[in-house]
């Protein structure tokens, strides 16, 4: 960046041991926010690390990428390896076991985010005392709600364990299928509590919906902006978190591309590297790097799909879309409502699957004509996740390219932070509690993965730094 009134801010590499979210705000001479940037750790070295490993190890190894959403990486890699081994159609048992694992993952991930990360914002307000505006505050004031969150999360985690085999480095999905089915005993344990889970999911959704509708005037502009949206959708246009073709729509809902073949995603999506970030910046090629960025995740998925194939979630989707008269909703805070629509959808899907005898089938793996290249795309809780591999004749991986959800939401999150910072700066060159809170709320709407795969004892704070027009650090706060 070059401007006589502004100086370039050099961002120091953040520690690789703990994942930090770092925000830098650059002011102009009038102490207004000229630019805001969110810096998130991403380990691009993984794509090189996996080269030379046998392809069948990929679905297990990729779980090293992230301790928060290992299941998504596990399944995306397995889908890519299905292509490598020529498994163009999995057995019903294999596909349904994987779907059960995936809906369990989405359910528990969304629940954790809603009950323990975002509900304090919604139930106490952005300006509530930080000593109260946290999960303990929720426990004190809404103990039943907090307990529901823990037990729903546990339910999803147990489904992952039953389908993936274990919590760490699960092995359930393998190239061409799965290595286990669901026993009657396992199924019955989950069926016992399923109706309770559906009811609790409906209750949580109501909180997110009521909050959005009641505060629509004040949150409509909060960190909001028009954008394109991207997700996979089923052949008939239904929301499908596990499989489908790529669809991108404009801010008005016009299709940029639709039902695009996953294997050729690189014909539509390219990635740019910027000097100030370790992260890549994906964009839609036909629009170009400047304006081709897009949003992914629950908001993008609900905007992009034509309908949801489970009745309770579909009724909620229709209500959500009515707010914007059927057009895409570009309100950043609407992510919470859509996340809870997907939570309800996931538990409806889990209920359907648990009642499906195919889960007890024994035909688990198929294979076909071996290929040298494969792409697996899945809708991870935070958005579209791309895994792309090339494998040589010795079965060794020679190329790997990953586009993770938080990367796709990179520009949107930066834009949201910038909007909020511009709106809520006090006029003085300082980071006030109100500004810090709102930056955090805007980032949290996207549920970014601020963590990396390693942690050790420690915290993962959000650090906000403010620089004056000469690039001098004038304030720094963490929480």
């Amino acid at each position: 960046m070059s401007n006589e009134n502004l100086k370039r801010v050099v961002i120091e590499p953040v520690t690789r041991v703990e994942g930090h979210g770092k925000v830098s705000l650059l002011l102009d001479k009038d102490n207004q926010v000229k630019q805001a940037r969110l810096h998130i750790v991403e380990f691009r070295g993984f794509e090189r690390f996996i080269q030379g490993r046998p392809y069948w190890e990929a679905p297990v190894i990729v779980q090293r990428l992230c301790g928060i959403c290992p299941v998504s990486h596990h399944l995306a890699a397995a889908k890519a390896m299905d292509v490598i081994v020529g498994a163009d159609k999995l057995t019903p048992t294999a596909e349904k076991m994987r779907r059960l694992m995936h809906y369990g993952q989405t359910f528990q991930s969304h629940v954790l985010h809603f009950f323990h990360l975002c509900s304090p914002d919604l139930l106490f307000g952005f300006d509530a005392d930080p000593a109260i505006r946290n999960v303990i505050g929720i426990i004190k004031k809404y103990p039943e709600l907090a307990k529901q969150g823990v037990l729903m999360r546990k339910y999803g985690q147990e489904i992952i364990k039953a389908t993936a085999g274990k919590k760490i480095h699960g092995t359930g999905a393998i190239p061409g299928g799965v290595n286990k089915n669901l026993s009657i005993e396992e199924r019955d344990v989950f069926l016992k509590d399923i109706e309770q889970m559906v009811e609790w999911a409906k209750g949580a959704l109501k909180i997110a919906k009521d909050y959005t509708v009641e505060n629509l005037d004040s949150i409509a502009s909060f960190g909001s902006f028009d954008s394109s949206h991207l997700s996979i959708v089923r052949e008939d246009g239904a929301l499908d978190l596990y499989n489908g073709g790529l669809r991108a729509i404009t801010k008005d809902g016009e299709k940029i591309f639709d039902h695009f073949n996953n294997q050729k995603y690189h014909e539509q999506i390219a990635e740019e590297v910027k000097s100030w970030s370790y992260m890549k910046f994906p964009f839609i090629k036909s629009i170009g790097p400047e304006n081709g960025w897009y949003r992914v995740g629950p908001l993008a998925r609900i905007n992009a799909c034509d309908f949801i194939d489970t009745p309770l979630a579909e009724a909620e989707r229709a209500e959500f879309m009515a707010i914007t008269e059927g057009k895409p909703n570009n309100i950043t805070m609407a992510y919470h409502w859509t996340r809870m629509i997907e939570t309800l959808h996931s538990i409806e899907k889990i209920r359907d699957l648990l009642n499906d005898e195919d889960l007890q089938g024994t035909d688990l793996v198929v294979k076909g004509k071996r290929r040298e290249e494969g792409v697996g795309i899945i809708e991870a809780p935070r958005g579209t996740l791309f895994h792309h591999y090339k494998v040589d004749e010795k079965d060794q991986i020679t190329m790997c390219n990953l586009i993770v959800s938080t990367t796709s939401n990179n520009i949107p999150m930066n834009t949201a932070v910038e909007r909020v910072a511009q709106e809520y700066i006090s006029g003085k060159p300082e980071i006030t509690e109100g500004l810090l809170n709102r930056i955090e709320v805007a980032i949290r709407a996207y549920d970014p993965c601020l963590s990396c795969a390693t942690h050790a004892m420690g915290q993962m704070p959000l650090i906000v730094s403010m620089f004056d027009y000469e690039g001098k650090l004038i304030d720094k706060k963490a929480k």
Binding site: K154, R444, T454, K479
Partner: protein, 157 residues
């Protein structure tokens, strides 16, 4: 009032795909293989809120994790429940998860942390450094004796 032996939960956490960050799960695996009576062993990439539910079903919980800077070869300390949970990220500390267990499930579980000194965290790889491996051996011996001692005690609650 009847009393029964204490129930102990050991949670080893960390990412085995990140070298010494896998010390916690490695310790959990070693202890699980001992099949000690009255001891439940669990492991995960990180602590999570639902651990609060399982903790509430035990008298004692030991959290085992790698540490970047603790004294060698390990430190073992008692912790108290804390209720100052930051919610910027998905991480949750042993003190916080113990606090959740107390708040949500009225648990009176006694908590300990075992920090095992690690050295290499910054690369991908499923192998402990040799110094971390040595520290793990010491830690396993210590925890084994500690667990035997704890499970001999009676639950007087």
């Amino acid at each position: 009032m009847t009393s029964s032996p204490k129930k102990v939960l050991l949670i080893g956490f960390g990412n085995p795909g990140r070298l010494d960050d896998g010390l916690g799960p490695a310790l959990a695996e070693a202890i699980e293989n001992l099949n000690l009576l009255g001891v439940t062993v669990d492991s995960d990439y990180q602590l999570t809120v639902e651990d609060a539910s399982q903790i509430s079903e035990h008298n004692v919980v030991i959290f085992a994790d790698a540490s970047t800077n603790c004294d060698e070869p390990y430190i073992f300390r008692e912790i108290k429940p804390k209720t100052d949970i930051s919610f910027s990220s998905h991480s949750i500390s042993p003190e916080n998860v113990l606090g959740l267990s107390e708040e949500l499930f009225a648990a009176k579980t006694q908590g300990f942390v075992l920090e095992i000194r690690g050295y290499d965290f910054n690369e991908f790889g499923q192998k402990l450094s040799s110094k971390a491996q040595d520290n793990l051996i010491d830690a396993v011996e210590f925890v084994k004796a500690k667990l035997v001692e704890l499970t001999k005690e009676n639950d007087k609650s």
